[in-house]
C-alpha cells in the first residue's frame, strides 16, 4: 500500500468534492468542511513521499492534517492517521488483517478525541461500520476486497446519517433542524476510504 498514492487520490477527490462538502457543512454547520479538508490534504500530499514506510508516511499525514486543517476535522483526522500509523508500525507488508487492526486503533483514537458515539451524526458513523466491515472481510478476502468492503460500509454509514439528530460538533446546535442532512465529516470519511480501496486496487 503506497500511502502517498492514497493521499494524492484523497486530495484529488476532496478537491473535486470540495463544494459539495462545503454545502453539506453549510446546511448544518459553517460551510467550511470541504475547504478545510482540501487545504489539509493538499499539504499532506506535498509532504508525503512515495515509497516511505507506511507508518512513517501516515504519521506525517496525521501531523500535517493536525497543523493545517483546523476546526473539528483537523484533530480528528489527525488522530485518525496517527492511529493508523500506530497500527501499521513495524509491519513491512500489511495485509487485510493488519489494516483491520489499524482501522480499529484509528477509530478508537477518533472516538477518544471527539467523544462521539455511533448515531451522533459524525464521521464516527462512517468509521465504525467501515471498521467492522474490514474486520469481517479480513479473514477471507484480499486487502483490496476487504478495503472495498470497508469503503462501501462507510458510504452506507454516511448516507445513514441523514435522518439522525446531531449530538456532537457544530451541527448539534441545530437540534431538530439537523435532521434531514448528510453529515459532511462522515461523507469525507467515505470518500477517503473509497480512495484507499481504489489505491489498493491499482497495486
Amino acid at each position: 500500500m503506497d500511502v502517498a498514492a492514497w493521499v494524492r487520490a484523497g486530495a484529488a477527490v476532496l478537491e473535486q468534492e470540495r463544494d459539495r462538502l462545503n454545502r453539506l457543512d453549510a446546511d448544518i454547520g459553517d460551510g467550511d468542511h470541504g475547504a478545510n479538508m482540501t487545504r489539509g490534504f493538499k499539504a499532506a500530499a506535498e509532504r508525503v513521499a512515495s515509497g516511505a514506510p507506511a507508518a512513517d508516511a501516515l504519521r506525517t499525514v496525521g501531523m500535517t492534517l493536525l497543523s493545517t486543517v483546523g476546526g473539528a476535522a483537523g484533530p480528528l483526522y489527525g488522530s485518525f492517521f496517527i492511529g493508523l500509523a500506530g497500527g501499521l508500525r513495524d509491519v513491512s507488508d500489511a495485509d487485510a488483517d493488519v489494516w483491520a487492526t489499524a482501522l480499529e486503533a484509528a477509530t478508537a483514537a477518533v472516538q477518544r478525541r471527539g467523544k462521539a458515539e455511533p448515531g451522533d451524526k459524525t464521521m464516527v458513523d462512517a468509521l465504525v461500520p467501515a471498521r467492522d466491515a474490514l474486520r469481517g472481510a479480513a479473514a477471507g478476502a484480499s486487502l483490496q476486497e476487504a478495503l472495498q468492503a470497508a469503503a462501501d460500509a462507510a458510504q452506507k454509514g454516511a448516507e445513514a446519517t441523514v435522518p439522525l439528530l446531531a449530538r456532537k460538533g457544530r451541527a448539534s446546535y441545530l437540534g431538530e433542524r439537523s435532521i434531514g442532512h448528510q453529515d459532511p465529516g462522515a461523507t469525507s470519511t467515505a470518500l477517503l476510504l473509497q480512495a484507499l480501496a481504489a489505491t489498493a486496487d491499482e497495486q
Binding site: N22, A26, D30, G70, G74, R170, Y173, G175
Partner: protein
C-alpha cells in the same frame, strides 16, 4: 463574492502582513506558525494570556493583544479553529515563567485543537472555556453552548488580572467567573461569505432574519420575519435575562456588539432599547461597550451580552488596557 482581497487562500496571511506593517512597535507577528504577540513580551513573572480562534471575527482576537489584555492571539483560517502547532509556539512565546492561560471559545474544533496543544505544552497551561450563548441548548446531548460575546469580557478581565501579577489559578478562576456570570445572544440580518468558500454561508430572504446566530454563520435558533429593532432587542434579552437569572438590583456590564456589517448608528439604537429594558427591570448598567468587537465578517446583525458585575470585576474592567481595539487608562 465582493471582497477587498487578493487570493482567497491568502486572506489571513496577507492580513497578518498588514498588521505587522501597521503595528511594529506594539505587536510581533509570527507567520508560520501564525500568531500575534505583544512586542514587549514575554513579561517575566506574569501569567501569559493566550486566545485564538478562526479568523473573520476581527478585532477578536488579534486586536486585543497588548498590555492589560492578551499576550498572544492565534488566528485560524477564516471561521476555522487554529491548529495545535500555532498554540504550542504561541504558548512558548508568551511564557514568562508563571504559566499560560488558554481562553477557548466552546466549539468542538477549538476545544480539540486547544486540548491537543495543552497536552503537548511543556509550560503550565490552564484552559478556560467560554460558553455564554443562550441561543444554544446546554445539554449533555449537544456540544454545549458556544462562546460568543463574553469572550471579549473574559479576555479583558483575565488580562487585567494577569497584568496585576495575579497567579495562574486566580486568573483562571476570574476568567471562569466572567464566563459564568455572562450571557449572550445574537441575530443576523444578512449572511456572510467565507472567502475560500465564495458563496454566502446561508441565505436569508429580504424579509427574514435569523435569531440565535453564532459567530460563524451557523444557522441560528429560528428564522423569523424581520421586526423593528426594539422587538429584536426584546427577543434577544428575554432568554439572556431569564437564563442567569439576572434580577432587580443587579449591577451589569451591557455589551452591544455589531456582527461587522451593521453601522454604529444602528448599534446605538439597539443600546437605547437595552438601556430601557434593563432600566425597567431594575438592573443597573454600570459599564457598557458598544461597537464591532466580535464579528462575523460582513454579516449585518448584533449580539447582546450581559455580565453581572461585582466590585472586583468592575475594577479589572476599568484597569488600563492598551490594544488596537480596546484602549483606556494608558
Amino acid at each position: 463574492m465582493k471582497k477587498l482581497i487578493n487570493d482567497p487562500e491568502a486572506v489571513v496571511s496577507e492580513a497578518l502582513e498588514g498588521i505587522a506593517a501597521a503595528h511594529p512597535d506594539t505587536l510581533r507577528v509570527s507567520f508560520d506558525p501564525a500568531y500575534i504577540a505583544r512586542a514587549d513580551g514575554p513579561v517575566r513573572g506574569k501569567v501569559g494570556i493566550l486566545s485564538g480562534g478562526g479568523s473573520g471575527h476581527e478585532p477578536l482576537h488579534g486586536g486585543f493583544v497588548g498590555r492589560g489584555m492578551l499576550d498572544v492571539a492565534c488566528p485560524g483560517a477564516v471561521f476555522t479553529s487554529p491548529t495545535p502547532d500555532q498554540m504550542l509556539a504561541a504558548t512558548q512565546a508568551v511564557d514568562g515563567g508563571a504559566g499560560v492561560l488558554h481562553i477557548v471559545k466552546n466549539y468542538t474544533g477549538d476545544v480539540m485543537n486547544f486540548e491537543t496543544a495543552a497536552e503537548l505544552a511543556e509550560t503550565e497551561v490552564v484552559s478556560v472555556l467560554v460558553d455564554d450563548d443562550v441561543a444554544v441548548q446546554d445539554s449533555t446531548y449537544t456540544a454545549g453552548r458556544r462562546g460568543v460575546g463574553a469572550t471579549v469580557l473574559v479576555e479583558k478581565i483575565a488580562g487585567a488580572a494577569a497584568e496585576a501579577g495575579r497567579p495562574l489559578a486566580e486568573v483562571a478562576a476570574l476568567a471562569r467567573r466572567v464566563d459564568e456570570n455572562a450571557r449572550s445572544m445574537g441575530m443576523a440580518l444578512t449572511s456572510c461569505t467565507v472567502p475560500h468558500v465564495g458563496t454566502p454561508t446561508f441565505e436569508l430572504a429580504e424579509d427574514e432574519m435569523e435569531i440565535g446566530i453564532g459567530i460563524h454563520g451557523e444557522p441560528g435558533r429560528e428564522r423569523v420575519e424581520l421586526e423593528p429593532a426594539d422587538k429584536i432587542v426584546d427577543r434577544l434579552l428575554e432568554p439572556i435575562l431569564s437564563d442567569l437569572p439576572f434580577s432587580s438590583g443587579d449591577r451589569v456590564l451591557a455589551f452591544v456588539n455589531g456582527m461587522g456589517g451593521t453601522p454604529l448608528i444602528e448599534l446605538y439604537i439597539v443600546y437605547r432599547r437595552v438601556a430601557q429594558v434593563l432600566g425597567e427591570r431594575g438592573l443597573k448598567i454600570e459599564r457598557n461597550l458598544v461597537g464591532n468587537f466580535i464579528t462575523s465578517l460582513e454579516m449585518a446583525g448584533t449580539s447582546i451580552t450581559l455580565l453581572k458585575l461585582d466590585d472586583e470585576l468592575v475594577q479589572l474592567w476599568d484597569a488600563p488596557v492598551d490594544t488596537t481595539a480596546l484602549r483606556w487608562g494608558v
